[in-house]
Subunit: 188 residues, 2 copies
């Protein structure tokens, strides 16, 4: 690589996953996508439409370097961190800049407006429980599937299990309460 792009300012959102994954030895775009879908999807997603262009950008900026590693006639490019890439990853991990946190939860929004339409609250809480039960099961599979797990992924998984677990419990309790209230009104 002879052309190196500007200062690189700070890492774009997707660059953060990619650098981290490459550092862990996940080497191709395809593999990164697999791993993301399996392990970080529930709190940090990424699509091919982001991954491949970003790999290019990171190489242009000199943070990763790729080389061709075909299987027969099937092309594959594998990447590794350059020293600059390692430094950038380290800088991000050590920085105490505000941590991005974004949630968009349609179930909660429906719940918020549920007064407008009788029955909506109860139905929404049920749907919400089912959604998080599915999520919870997937995380449990992940936990069971992976034999030993390094600390980082284990911590992230714990949080996922904890949150979904809490939500499921809350939904159950709330369903009972709402169902009871509905009956009361039926009697009155």
């Amino acid at each position: 690589v002879s052309e190196i792009a500007p200062p690189a300012a700070s890492l774009s959102p997707t660059a953060r996953v990619i650098l981290g994954m490459v550092a862990r030895g996940v080497r191709s775009g395809y593999e990164i996508k697999q791993l993301v879908d399996k392990s970080t999807r529930h709190f940090w997603a990424a699509s091919y439409g982001q991954i491949y262009p970003e790999l290019r950008r990171l190489e242009t900026e000199g943070l990763i370097s790729g080389r061709s590693d075909p299987s027969g006639a099937r092309a594959k490019t594998v990447y590794e961190l350059t020293p600059e890439g390692e430094a950038a990853l380290e800088a991000w991990l050590l920085s105490d800049a505000g941590l991005l946190y974004e949630l968009r939860d349609e179930a909660m929004l429906k719940l918020f407006f549920s007064d407008a339409e009788p029955g909506t609250a109860l139905r929404t809480v049920r749907a919400m429980r089912e959604l998080h039960e599915r999520k919870h099961e997937q995380l449990q599979l992940l936990e069971a599937g992976a034999g030993h797990m390094s600390t980082g992924p284990a911590l992230a998984l714990q949080i996922g299990l904890g949150i979904t677990g809490w939500l499921i419990d809350w939904c159950k309790a709330t369903e009972e309460r709402l169902a009871a209230e509905t009956e009361m009104q039926g009697e009155a």
Copy 2:
């Protein structure tokens, strides 16, 4: 209004908040933004750049109707739901289509990769706790500030308090564990 736009398919994400808010009697773009920031921000945000254009679109589609209501020379447009708008809101509330759920949590991502850099896990968990403690406090203020609260908003608030509360507890426990482990390694 004489021109009504196409079928309207289904409501855009931002349209969902707007219809809900207008139904609750929140009437101008400015007011909607205020209310969103105060009450739904932590699970569903909206910016002026979305709100004003969307109000136009919804009026074009015949779901809301606005009229001018200036204070002196200061312009203001207030909206209310049309019958079609009420129907659209109701349809959304009653629909059991998959509920969108999106989370992007940089703290969890850092945690996931924290093995690469010693000390990162502990520092990240601390930062995470502080973030959710702030969030928790804001929600408590909201709870205290609002006298009576209708069911919907109360339920959403409970979830917010519950989740942040759970996360804070988890962070505290994990901080202790990680700190203990760090000391152990210092001794070994």
